[in-house]
């Protein structure tokens, strides 16, 4: 008997500022994220998304993306075009259809 697939939420993810190089050189991705963190009842939040992206979508040099459970300092995050610092950062609870943008500021100008 197969277990039912867990419910997921569909997110639009975009990487820029050089971060796309870590993600198959592709800027835009659609991700189906489990709506709760596995083995818990915690709803999927931005912190979980970061770890999920690191483990499932990132192709190289994870240390340039994730550090201590959040994004590496110097990476900006926008949730539906708003600075995630106004949305509770990692504690933001993701909703179906959310658009999350990660921009590295670490590349030269």
């Amino acid at each position: 008997m197969s277990s039912p697939t867990p419910p997921t939420i569909r997110l639009q993810i975009e990487f820029s500022g050089g971060l796309e190089l870590l993600f198959s050189h592709t800027r835009k991705h659609t991700v189906n994220l489990p709506s709760t963190v596995p083995n818990s009842t915690r709803p999927a939040d931005a912190s979980y998304l970061i770890l999920y992206l690191r483990d499932n979508l990132l192709k190289e040099r994870p240390e340039l993306f994730e550090e201590k459970g959040t994004v590496k300092p110097g990476i900006l995050v926008l949730i539906n075009d708003t600075d995630w610092e106004l949305e509770g950062e990692g504690e933001y609870e993701l909703k179906d259809g959310d658009e999350i943008v990660f921009i590295s500021t670490l590349h030269g100008g």
């Binding site: 820029s16 500022g17 050089g18 190089l21 590496k72 300092p73 110097g74 900006l76 926008l78 075009d81 708003t82 600075d83 610092e85 106004l86 949305e87 509770g88 933001y92 943008v101 921009i103 590295s104 500021t105 670490l106 590349h107 030269g108 100008g109």
Partner: protein, 356 residues
């Protein structure tokens, strides 16, 4: 979380938290305060006079792209009456600079500014690709940095401009302050926070983004959907700056005002007269006429080392002595064209070929 309204207009939804102040503001108020702060930086430091010809050092990256956009906006809004140009240096790095120059060419169309591209190949007879092929990936940033500085001055001279503005932001300056402290480079520490620098016969250089946070520059580019190029230089290890940068970003994460605080600390340092007195006097390079603190400028020294197959001669004293022991530079040595500063601004402009 309930959406918050903008701390400035009290109407629109806040979309950004300002790192400098912690204020939560909307997109339109952000554009306005960001541009106004740059305008205030420009007017307080009296950077320009009406009629000035100003080159924007353009790499195609985020800082210079936003700078070109903001300079154009402010020039029109406040009627600075500046003539603006884009000046790009082509280091000759395949897969990096050739791509970013495409961005600059699009900027030229988007901002309707004349563009001048000067290449290392044209000026020095060497591309960075060729240099790295000869010397490997150690010290290549030294060549690139020394060559770029002189190339920018020479490009500006060819354009007949009075002034070069660069996209250095508050984060870059704070990083440089930290690096100079860590290296004990007191002379540079004393001047690295200056908004304007000008040598004897070089062109005025300034940094209108001196107080602008990188976060805000990137947000500005994102919200305005500006077209910029972002890939790290393929040859750049620049490990030392990388450490300073990582440290600074950690500080910023803990306390966002740290960046502007370090810039202010740097400004407050005063270099003692005895320390200043040990700094070398400026002279002109005997070989190429560019400003120098020795009889040969750094670029000529590096170039001679490359040409004579002893590339580290420009890097270490020991290698320099070894080169000198081999005798004087051969007659037919490739050199940099002699630098003749434009005396009257604008006089060189008619002879410039502006790239399309």
């Amino acid at each position: 979380m309930a959406p918050k309204s903008c701390a400035l207009c009290k109407k629109a939804r806040a979309m950004l938290k300002r790192p400098k102040t912690g204020q939560q503001i909307c997109r339109d108020c952000f554009f306005f305060v960001f541009e106004t702060e740059v305008h205030n930086t420009i007017t307080e430091a009296k950077l320009f006079s009406p009629g000035d010809r100003v080159a924007i050092g353009a790499s195609g990256g985020k800082d210079s792209t936003v700078l070109a956009h903001v300079m154009k906006t402010l020039n029109e809004r406040y009627n600075y009456r500046l003539e603006l140009f884009l000046l790009s240096i082509d280091e000759g790095i395949t897969g990096y600079r050739d791509d970013s120059l495409e961005t600059v060419k699009r900027n030229q169309q988007q901002y309707d500014m004349p563009l001048k591209i000067l290449s290392y190949d044209e000026l020095y007879g060497w591309t960075m690709d060729a240099i790295v092929e000869q010397i490997g990936r150690k010290n290549n940033c030294t060549f690139c940095g020394v060559f770029r500085r002189q190339a920018l001055d020479r490009g500006a001279n060819m354009l007949g401009v009075d002034h070069i503005v660069t996209g250095h932001n508050a984060d870059d300056i704070a990083e440089t302050v930290l690096m100079n402290i860590m290296r004990g480079d007191i002379a540079r520490l004393g001047r690295c926070t200056s908004i304007v620098t000008q040598g004897e016969d070089t062109i005025r250089r300034s940094k209108p983004f001196k107080y602008a946070y990188e976060k805000e520059i990137v947000m500005y580019a994102y919200f305005k959907k500006l077209d910029y190029f972002s890939t790290e230089c393929i040859y750049s290890p620049d490990a030392y700056r990388g450490h300073a940068r990582a440290f600074l970003k950690d500080l910023e994460a803990a306390r966002p005002s740290a960046i502007i605080d370090i810039v202010h600390s740097g400004e407050a340092f005063e270099v003692r007269e005895e320390v200043k007195a040990t700094q070398k006097l400026q002279q002109t390079c005997q070989r190429c006429g560019y400003m120098s603190s020795n009889t040969l400028c750094k670029a000529c020294t590096l170039l001679e080392g490359l040409e004579r197959g002893m590339a580290d001669a420009g890097i270490t004293d020991r290698a320099r002595k070894r080169l000198e022991a081999e005798g004087p530079a051969p007659e037919n040595l490739r050199t940099i064209p002699f630098f003749r500063p434009t005396t009257t601004p604008g006089s060189a402009a008619s002879t410039v070929e502006v790239a399309i």
